[in-house]
Subunit: 448 residues, 2 copies
């Protein structure tokens, strides 16, 4: 029997690190499982190649929280796992009826965020809030990672459409769907992933693979027959044998075409030569799509050099966030109601210290609406500016429908417009000001 | 309604690039859909930070091929997609009954492979062989990527167990499961991912999160209570406040413990000091687990410096293959039976040329059994050495059960033992010799 390892929505309970479950059992045994606790999730440091991040993935995180349960065979697995040998029966019974009932606050998808700012806050029974750590981090990290990369690529393209062509390079079939979503949210125009198009209503773009051209003995015939069947959706791939000859043949074939695609070689030179060939044949309306290991730097260089490229297809670099394929996202206990009262929780680990207590982020703006700085404060404080975290789940139930993907995409575009413009540079720039309140700072220096 | 974007095994048909489907429709319309074609999948270039790759992911690729179908709502989506406006009805009807019926040859999982070597060959009706491109590339790329990184990390650990701790950093929940599998295949001892443990029978390791320690007012109490409930599976996390004080408290608490974990700071110094504290208290049997942004280079440095670390937990760097999070995997048409006869197919794109015809890879060995070089030849040629590709599916049906994950893991270990030892170095080394036969080379220079 082969296994797909496609996660099953009915079996999400064990998609977590084992220690979440041993700790959960411990909280239960020691009577702490229902102590009210608050955890927060944030990015510890910005990668050096990112000036800002775009929050994404909340919808998938919330879906998980609403569908989280333990299937009978998963509970059997835990019962038989040697680590759980001394865990009493009533804990396993508790898992049978597990439902996530915490309150969740979060920064909406599409919001620009910075290091240290809680993207998500979970408050509720300690055991429940603990178990969800691993999946929540994964769900928010991957899309935030891709959306943040996509925003840079879209910025570099200066208004030209960017399509996600990266499904084949994503870290598995699901990662391709997640990347398509995150890329669209951050401003890409669409994706080549058909299922992402169907599930999420994204515009999809298809061109041709080399195999289409290769499967005909004659390149012109390959072009013509494609244009005949897809007269309004015909993008001809020119580089199977030789891009310039390919362009001449595309024109000579008389094929219906809306665009041509260049996928290898010196894209600056080729795009100029192909443009000239097309224009010379009176095909000014035919667009040029470029692809092939593109990223924000290459796109910026191409456009700076005047390459007449109309559409960019970006794969590998986008869906793997190749220059930094990870974010240092953590999920930490910040407050707990114990029999001795409510206490702020924090750790002091070398280089990894955390601030206690539930927090809110306030974003200020200048007279023109440009963001001028954020302050991270205790959630109970009142501050000037826009509070970024908003309630999403109450007792595990959605308070209101999440924003649509289109709405999140509009939010992202607006957020990027309001960023201090220097942050949109591809290279490093002075950090956006994010302050931690004096009150929170003082907590770290209190005697424990 | 929120969406998980967890792929559904009953809806795999559209998890592909749109152009695979437009081309498929084109092959159908032009009477080519059932022409016998052969595609091959290979890694175009080795990343500069890899001396070899470990083939992995075949089981998930085969699962896909055996379960590939188009759900009614997916076919409706295509019917309504503007690109398919002129595609005749009988193509959509054909999708309703789609079954993958090709022959598949592949290099078994756990085999060491190099650039240019076909990992997989698909032969059958052109339309079927085309549609599967995107998913096959994804399925084989991600696990080959992670297994190849894992093999380096395991090598660096010189026999000490390495556990995958990376689920939270994987590119989505599925990527975490895939990474756990690939890491185990390549020699990791197990994973922290509970569901991967259940589905794949992997050893799972759990320790403690900082939240466990933080949720008790007293660190010693946190240690003691954990050891009490998990007397045989107790790994105490020392660095929540201060690693050295943590070690002293762990000892003083009298907690049951098999191991302690260091997760931050100078792991060389701390491991030595903690070892001394443990030994001084007569706890020589307690092992030291180290984690925290480890990779093969850091592990090698720690061991070279004599750090008394017994077990490594590796997350981010392993599951994202951080130094190179992608492989340049392609899937190309190499042969086609046309009305004019059987023809080799290839492309000449700048820097991306391919060789025509189905191929086989023969691996030679020296007298000691060490691999001495590979030759890529036409599949019809006979050569000395071990042929690496073997038949897996005939007409879409499994010829025999795939090797178990344990068997693939043993194969990988044996393959690594038989590699020229210089390839196991972490730095670059002279390439392993891979030759393309003269007969194949000559094909590129034949007049087309």
């Amino acid at each position: 029997m082969t296994q797909s390892l496609n996660p099953d929505d009915r079996h999400l309970g064990l998609i977590t690190d084992l220690y979440e479950l041993t700790m959960a059992a411990g909280y239960h045994v020691y009577g702490m499982a229902d102590e009210h606790a608050t955890f927060e999730l944030w990015v510890r440091r910005l990668p050096s190649c990112r000036n800002y991040l775009v929050a994404a993935g909340l919808e998938q995180a919330i879906h998980y929280l609403q569908h989280l349960s333990f299937a009978p065979e998963q509970i059997v697995y835990l019962r038989e796992h040697p680590a759980f040998r001394y865990v009493p029966n009533d804990w396993f019974e508790r898992l049978e009826h597990f439902r996530f009932e915490c309150d969740v606050w979060a920064i909406p998808e599409g919001t620009v965020v910075f290091a240290g700012e809680p993207l998500l806050r979970v408050s509720g029974p300690l055991m429940q809030a603990q178990i969800v750590e691993t999946y929540l981090i994964t769900a928010l990290t991957v899309q935030t990672l891709i959306a943040s990369k996509a925003a840079r690529i879209v910025t570099a393209a200066q208004g030209r459409p960017v399509f996600d062509f990266g499904s084949r390079r994503a870290h598995g079939p699901q990662a391709g769907l997640l990347a398509a979503r995150a890329a669209y949210l951050a401003g890409c125009t669409g994706t080549s992933n058909t299922e992402a198009g169907r599930l999420l209503g994204l515009p999809t773009l298809g061109t041709q693979a080399h195999s289409w051209i290769m499967s005909f003995t004659d390149e012109q015939e390959a072009f013509r027959k494609f244009g005949q069947l897809f007269p309004d959706h015909s993008t001809l791939l020119l580089d199977t044998y030789d891009t310039i000859q390919g362009a001449c043949k595309a024109v000579a074939s008389g094929a219906a075409m809306q665009a041509v695609r260049l996928d290898s070689g010196d894209l600056e030179r080729l795009s100029k030569e192909v443009r000239a060939i097309l224009d010379g044949a009176g095909r000014q309306a035919v667009k040029i799509v470029a692809s092939g290991d593109l990223n924000e730097y290459k796109i910026a260089d191409l456009l700076a050099a005047g390459a007449p490229i109309d559409v960019f297809g970006v794969g590998t670099e986008l869906v793997t966030s190749r220059d930094e394929p990870t974010l240092n996202v953590v999920y930490k206990l910040v407050e707990q109601e114990t029999p001795q009262g409510t206490v702020g929780r924090f750790k002091l680990s070398s280089g990894k210290a955390t601030y206690p207590y539930p927090k809110q982020v306030y974003r200020r703006q200048d007279a023109s609406g440009t963001f001028s700085g954020d302050r991270i404060v205790k959630a109970t404080s009142q501050e000037q500016g826009e509070p970024l975290l908003a309630p999403v789940l109450r007792g595990g139930e959605l308070i209101e429908a999440l924003p649509s993907l289109e709405a999140s995409r509009r939010r992202c575009a607006e957020q990027l417009r309001r960023l201090p413009p220097e942050l949109l540079a591809l290279g490093p720039c002075p950090s956006y000001p994010v302050q931690v309140s004096e009150e929170l700072e003082a907590e770290l220096h209190r005697p424990k």
